[in-house]
Amino acid sequence: MAREFQRGHKARISDLTAGTDLYVGVQITGPGLTFDISCFGLDGNEQLSDDRYFVFFNQPKTPEESIQLLGAQAGDTESFRVTLDKIPPQIQKLSFTATIDGAGQMSQVAPGYLRIVAGGEEVARYSFNGAEFSTERAVMLGDFYLKDVWRFAAVGQGFDGGLDALLKNFGGEVAEEEPAAAPQPQAGAPSFAPPAQATAPPAFGAPAAPAPTPAPAPAPQPAQGFAPPPAPTPPPAPEPPVHAAPTIVAPMTPPGGAPVPPPAPAPAPYGQPGQQQPPYGQAPGQTAPLPPGYGQPQAPQAPAPPPGYGQPTPPPGYGQQPPFGQVPGQPGAPGAPSPYGAPQGAPQGGAGVAAALQSYKETPTGQRWTQQNKKMVRVDLGMGGDQAVLARQGSMVLYQGKVDFSYKGAGFSGRIVGNATGQEMQLMRCSGRGQVFLADNSAMLHPIELQGDAVCVSAENVLAFDETLQYEVRRVEGHGIPGGALFTMQFQGTGTIVVKTRGVPVVLPVTPTTFADCNAVVAWSAASQVIVSSQVRMRRNAYPGDSGESVNLQFRGAPGNFIVVQPYEV
């Protein structure tokens, strides 16, 4: 099963596939647009120090042929063959880019993808579409980069200039104006196997199991396509199996046609075993006869399928699950008492409570404020001076050491102001020595470190802050705001403040046209100037009881200022 990548996702290539001879396909199209898709081989400084490692239509391969341009095939606009083993050590990163040739901008592109195919099987796919871009004319789609081992990152970052600018960005030079040659589709593909080819030299599909593969080598092997799987049934089943078990309601009926895994009687509900049928989830336009599709037995997270589960034959279509009614001892599941049997082997990472919870361990100490995960933060009292921390009441979930929690009043004037403005915080003071874990209702937490600068945060979004910070209620003036004005808390000084948001926030740089809903904006850097721009929004009018008027805040300021907006209108 191809692993879906989102922008920003990274993974070790060895986790995706054991192979190192990879096919990289890029599909990017747009009405009236033509694209140049190229691969930059960059050195440790992310510079194109060697022009020979700029693979594009005029230079279809590198000297030792570790990167080759293959042309359009199998539904891909452009494709590459990358042999990771052969890449020379000075090349630390391969950046796959697409640039628009001629007029146009990236927001016009149709949904496309960058995919990695190993051994005829798609192992990773990063999908993108034009909505993620705006006026850019180039986009860096994905990177292969060497950090101990080769890794893949879905980048999806737009770039304003065209191919020339991109080349200059990487430190290259445009040797001559406008290379004339059109992309030459390679006549006769080289002797390696893009997904469109059913036959390939076995060397390409061989899972060489490179250095730090976490999985034991035999486990991913069956998924590697061309190596003959140890299963009794090869994938191209010549005739559809005859199954006696027509429905899943009769689980104990053994299927008649024994060894072919998917429970596919003639009107198969999902997935025909026939090879020509594109499986569920495959675009009909693609012609890959060995489609990676949907049901490959290798899951990225489960590198070692325990014995008894491993249907080693990649059944085409949907059916990676063993049939319900498979009788014990069938050749498809040797040794397993039942197809759904609980494998007694250890899960990945070993058995036991400690192993299962390994990924949730607290992060090591070292700083005063440490984010444990997105929703929990730990403060080390007594580290970095003996100052106390003020936190929202009840936000402590755990503490170790000698910590004292006490009520923190706002003072008389503070309460008056708080009552009048709504910017009131129910705080407690944590002092002493020890570690305190803070969290609040699964909200996402964001520690912001202030070094003499200031930030404005709405009081209800403050989780905790160093007592050294000064805070005051600030007023945002403007007509049209219900109640006459809008209030926020301004924090200033040196220290850390933890802001909480509901959902993943967006942090926008302040530009001449930055607007935010006053109900959704969480924080902004205090150096930016806030202007109120009111407008009537029909959606708000639809709610009874609402004033019908909402307020947009416009932010202005020097570059470097930011605002934080949450996906939730309080």
């Binding site: 099963m1 191809a2 999908s127 899943i248 689980p251 989830g281 495959q282 675009a283 949907y294 049901g295 037995p297 899951a299 489960a302 070692a304 399928p305 325990p306 589960y309 949907y318 699950q321 063993p322 319900f324 039942s338 197809p339 759904y340 049997g341 609980a342 494998p343 250890a346 899960p347 058995a351 036991g352 409570v353 400690a354 192993a355 299962a356 919870l357 949730y360 361990k361 607290e362 995960n373 997105k374 929703k375 929990m376 929202r392 009441q393 936000s395 979930v397 755990l398 170790q400 050491g401 929690f405 006490s406 009520y407 009043g409 407690m428 003071r429 874990f437 969290a439 209702n441 699964s442």
Partner: protein, 226 residues
């Protein structure tokens, strides 16, 4: 459309219990290897699975499971794939390998029926919590799934005399060999309405781990649904 949704198809089964995403549990059911799960936690199943709410044996054990705090269980048996979830809570799968874990009743999602389990009351806490805290101690060889509102954190208690204090609402599970006692942090101030918001905690000491969730929401959604 299929291309978009294809990424959410179940991964091939590799173990008795697995996560499907962060918030859903997938159990490979098998005859003779029954599962005890929270009533109402089933969201989907494939195959032939039967549910028996509160089987007599369980009722026997859970006799002293107080109605206010306990979590009713159902026994699932059959062959197939069973999907469980609890209102979008994170699911943590643990393979017990002869060790034991103590789980807060509301945070228990499912466990193998052949495991040794029992309901016990946390001592020393009831007197000021007003409600008591009930937990399920599970031990043996098998699989347990817990829920946590948000990604949990596991804290090692260190083994010494130092105590780790946990907000009972955020507590998910702990090692049963830890010493537990209640700690109140009431002060005179609290009596005049100026509490710090942290009225009482549970103190753990000894060798073991404590699992806490980043939320102080301990409401039992599955029970509320009825």
């Amino acid at each position: 459309m299929n291309q978009q949704l294809a990424g959410f198809a179940p991964a091939p089964v590799a173990a008795r219990m697995e996560n499907h995403g962060n918030h859903m549990l997938k159990v490979a059911m098998q005859t003779g290897n029954d599962l005890l799960a929270r009533v109402g936690s089933m969201v989907a199943y494939e195959g032939f699975v039967q549910y028996e709410p509160n089987p007599p044996a369980v009722r026997q054990i859970a006799k002293d499971w107080m109605t206010g705090e306990g979590a009713p269980l159902m026994k699932c048996s059959g062959d197939g794939l069973l999907y469980l979830s609890d209102y979008g809570a994170n699911v943590v799968v643990i393979n017990l390998n002869g060790d034991a874990i103590s789980v807060n009743a509301t945070n228990l999602l499912a466990f193998d029926a052949h495991l040794t389990w029992g309901v016990e009351r946390v001592k020393g806490l009831a007197k000021f919590a007003g409600q008591g805290l009930w937990n399920t101690k599970i031990s043996g060889q098998g699989w347990v799934a817990l829920t946590s509102r948000g990604k949990p954190i596991v804290v090692d208690c260190g083994g010494g005399e130092d105590e780790t204090y946990v907000d009972p609402d955020a507590l998910v599970a702990w090692s049963p060999n830890l010493k537990v006692k209640g700690k109140r942090s009431f002060k005179a101030q609290s009596l005049i309405g100026r509490g710090s918001g942290e009225a009482y905690q549970m103190a753990f000491s000894g060798q073991g781990i404590v699992v806490v969730q980043p939320s102080e929401d301990s409401t039992d959604r599955l029970r509320v649904r009825g």
